[in-house]
Subunit: 600 residues, 2 copies
């Protein structure tokens, strides 16, 4: 095994071209495959640029041929020889170097490889646990190479754009103070200060506000953030965020910067024009039309409130719903009349899993109506009204749920997405952005009290700084940017007035001592000349995932954790020696194993 | 208090120019100062671009003048009016807008400020604890604005350069596995896996090696790293590193990339040409000539082994040293003969603090020799030999220490730096880079065993892969880049052969089960076709500190910890509620307070 020096002959595997004919080159990389064909040894070599074919002829280069015939997949080699055209008919148009081959003079084997646990070439479907354990092999596969290269280009484009716009990237600390906000903090014990803890940031929110107080007019950061949430299918305990903040902003100003940034990002990384300015929807409108505050606008299928069609209906379930002031919300499935009853039953089961009490459907078939509703409920008047409301045509079906209005909309919105997926309307190569605006400032939290809809630093709508009337009717200077049904980012104009910030904390029921303890430094900072300020945070992992059309954010992260937040390659988290914990003044206090027998 | 919209009139304070005369503008920022001068109210307003002067005339704009006269330092304002030239003789050439002023029409007070705890304008010397507690005010000061803007430009230049050179920035995880290497890991308890811990990375070392195994030919990352060291004067528990790695590298290849990167960085951020290629020194040469592996080359004053001058000396201390095989190492202090005896005594006390057994000196004054040595020791032969070795001229002094050779060099090297500082030779505006090469592979560790000089993944010198002979004589494929006496970065060609890596672990005395537990995944990865690879890591904080000529890295970090690793603004680390620790299955186990009385 020898370490070959980088020679001036070196060429990337993907760069060989018929014009190079006769040139002596060295290619280096991994053996993708070998084959013996009529006595000639063919070696396909792969590097991050592509694949090149090398051929050893035992008659003219016996040593090279002998070495080549010993090669196995994933061995690391440096091969030398002259470039020549492949014989006519043997070109491979799928490869950028597919018109050429290298006539081997010498083979250096730089490192041997064990047999990989799964094939590295090609795009075989491999169980994810195995991929994560051998991530360094998984990352050799062409689609993972492409994903991470695209991620690099996308983030580079963000930095170039924001730098051009006068933003400074400023690094904020990762060993910070534990705060009681939102999802849970990871804690970091201090050795120097036994019994005390830092926390890892869930976002640079407070620091970016402090940077505005500090007079940096335009700040950004590509920031690692941490959240010790209960593991969910597509979350990671650490994630990356584009974080930006501006002093003296307007919502229009922030929107213009973010649209420009996303447009630059998609142009540079994907050569896609995203068509800014984006559409805009109010939160109320998004909920009414799409049953979601992150609508997928790649297709229509807007929700329709069909309650009026069922006033005075014979159908007891709907009659009771109308009576109770509930809503009946429908969605038109174009061509859905062709579905079988079995198909509709399957949809009803899906809706039941989401918590729907039922799913009603009416199909307008060429042979007349088909429906889950009893015959008696299909009065002409009802059907006419329904047709007028939904514009359903012959061949379509209308699916309906009845529930409290927001719930009915949410359920119908989920059904809209489900039907769109079945009908192949969620085209991964289309990018439909929108802004959602005019969010409520507060919402009812799980404990039944008033909680911030996003975070307690969000400014109320202009003109409502005195917080008049019903708290739940207050609107926020908050805005989300949404792509294909995913929220990419969230932002707001912040509170810059210490007195207003105190009133908000009080409305949220935060005890005064907790406010002093946790947010004293923020309130103090606001009192020393805080400028008006606002900004946004966007999730990098999600944006890149949508760009490459991947199923999971794990496909665009080099070394992700699994769904149980474990690193399967390194085996983390893990137990640590007791001596380390002693230095941290910590003891692990696990519940005792269940008793095998009882002794007193 | 009203939130003014961004008007089209907005101009940065530092951008006003006599050509703008007559233009209506709005400037926004912080009140730097106000004064009442002959009935006119002058307001200096500051934003990140600079300072503008506004003038309110109570006769023509009574409302604006009344508002202006209520302003206090650090209030946040938006001011409108027409630009005009300042009257001749009142221009301020120190300000970019110093030829102009704004004749105030209106004053919007966007936020009031309490009286700051220290003056924000100017560069007053403020106690660091106070600066860190009110960091958001400290950061408003012009030199801190400049430092962070320069840091942004420097890091942007690194990214642009490496991107241009085909490097991909790839983010590696921060919640990793605890390893026993080097300084101490910060631990992060897992909630999902009670009793288990992640660790924060001290560097992305293992991940960048895995990315090479994964076939990414050129990787970099501007990476946050963490080290729970015992607090030292200019260390931070979190710091930022330029981390890069290349497959199929040579040392020359890495050096070329890093020199190009540093040159681009200094050109873009400072408009300084660093004069690549840098000088090169072997480790042995650096130790012999400068008594340091990070020599300051802004001045000469090379160390001289003067032992031969004292062979057969009458001076018992040196005679004993020569006898014992020790070295006498000298440094010439140009013009040092003018020092008083008291001055030399002070230098001797400093040397004693570093652990020197003594400091001998000989001054070549116009009136003959002056020396700490006894007269009898100053034989003509000795003085002649000393003069020939040191080239000391009349007016110079030679300072000498005797000790084991490496120790003598280290002590004399420290004296060299000390004298250079006294003689103002350490010019903060000069940048003298060098490479130090040919480091030893191993060193004696504090326990008396063999330890890696840098880390156990460093490849031995080409040709010594079989690890022949005395381990301490082995050289490493390791290289440091040094600027003005500070190590900026460290790198090496890594071991890519699993068998060699195992032999190195064994030589270092790592128990096999520990190797399997901690580095099993690395050894496995090397066995699946690891390419030859190598790279470097450079400290961003230190580079930027030297660029701006700051005393401490805390001057180039937005929110640093103090020397006890505390955030004085947020008050972190801090105690956390017991309920949080319960969820983590942890108990704090502080030693009991000293007993007041004894009870049984």
């Amino acid at each position: 095994m020898k370490n070959s020096a980088v020679g001036p002959l070196h060429r990337d595997c993907g760069s060989l071209h018929p014009q190079d004919e006769g040139t002596e080159v060295e290619i280096r990389g991994w053996v993708n495959s070998t084959r013996d064909h009529g006595g000639l040894i063919f070696v396909d070599v792969r590097d991050s640029s592509g694949i090149a074919q090398a051929v050893a002829d035992p008659r003219t280069a016996p040593e090279a041929a002998a070495a080549a015939s010993s090669l196995r997949s994933e061995d690391v080699v440096a091969l030398r020889g002259a470039v020549r055209r492949r014989p006519t008919g043997t070109e491979n148009p799928k490869l950028t170097s597919g018109d050429t081959e290298v006539a081997l003079d010498s083979v250096s084997i730089l490192n041997r490889s064990l047999t990989p646990p799964f094939p590295v070439h090609g795009e075989a479907d491999v169980e994810e646990g195995l991929r994560l354990k051998y991530r360094y092999l998984d990352l050799r596969r062409p689609h993972m190479q492409r994903n991470l290269a695209l991620r690099h280009r996308a983030i580079k484009a963000v930095r170039d754009y924001l730098d051009e716009q006068g933003f400074l990237e400023i690094e904020t600390p990762m060993l910070i103070k534990q705060t009681p906000e939102g999802a849970r903090d990871f804690l970091v014990p201090s050795r120097l200060h036994g019994g005390q803890f830092y926390a890892l940031p869930q976002s640079p929110q407070l620091f970016k506000q402090l940077l505005m107080v500090a007079g940096f007019g335009r700040y950004f950061q590509i920031a690692r953030c941490f959240r010790d949430e209960d593991a969910r299918s597509d979350r990671q305990p650490e994630f990356t965020q584009i974080d930006l903040e501006m002093a003296f902003p307007t919502i229009e100003g922030v929107i213009a910067v973010v649209e420009g940034m996303l447009a630059h990002m998609f142009r540079q990384a994907l050569a896609v024009d995203v068509g800014a300015p984006f559409r805009r929807l109010s939160h109320a409108d998004a909920m009414a039309r799409y049953g979601s505050d992150k609508p997928d606008l790649r297709f229509g299928m807007e929700l329709i409130e069909v309650t009026p069609a069922f006033e005075g209906t014979q159908f007891k379930v709907f009659a009771a719903a109308v009576q109770a002031g509930e809503s009946i919300v429908g969605v038109v499935d174009e061509g859905g009349a062709a579905r079988s009853r079995r198909d509709f039953d399957a949809l009803a089961r899906v809706a039941a899993e989401w918590g729907a009490k039922g799913l009603a459907w009416i199909a307008f078939t060429p042979d007349g109506l088909k429906s889950s509703l009893p015959k008696a409920a299909l009065e002409t008047q009802t059907i006419d009204r329904l047709g007028a409301l939904t514009h359903a045509k012959q061949g379509d079906a209308v699916l309906m749920v009845a529930a409290e209005r927001t719930e009915a909309r949410t359920l119908a919105g989920k059904m809209r997405l489900h039907l769109a997926a079945q009908n192949n309307l969620r085209d991964a190569r289309r990018f439909e952005f929108c802004w959602v605006l005019d969010f409520p400032l507060f919402e009812i939290n799980p404990e039944g009290g008033i909680g911030p809809m996003h975070h307690p630093f969000t400014a109320p709508a202009v003109g409502s700084e005195s917080l008049p009337g019903d708290p739940l009717s207050l609107r926020a200077q908050h805005y989300d940017v949404v792509l294909n049904g995913s929220e990419l980012g969230s932002g707001s104009i912040r509170i810059h007035d210490a007195a207003l910030q105190r009133r908000i904390f009080a409305m949220l029921g935060y005890p005064e001592d907790e406010v002093a303890e946790r947010f004293g430094f923020l309130l103090e900072a606001l009192a020393f000349g805080a400028p008006p300020h606002g900004g946004m945070a966007l999730g990098v992992d999600r944006i890149v995932q949508i760009m490459v059309g991947a199923e999971s954010i794990r496909e665009v992260i080099a070394f992700p954790k699994n769904q149980r937040f474990q690193d399967l390659m390194m085996q983390a988290p893990a137990r640590v020696p007791k001596a380390l914990l002693d230095e941290l003044r910590l003891r692990v206090d696990l519940p005792p194993a269940p008793p095998v027998s009882q002794r007193s």
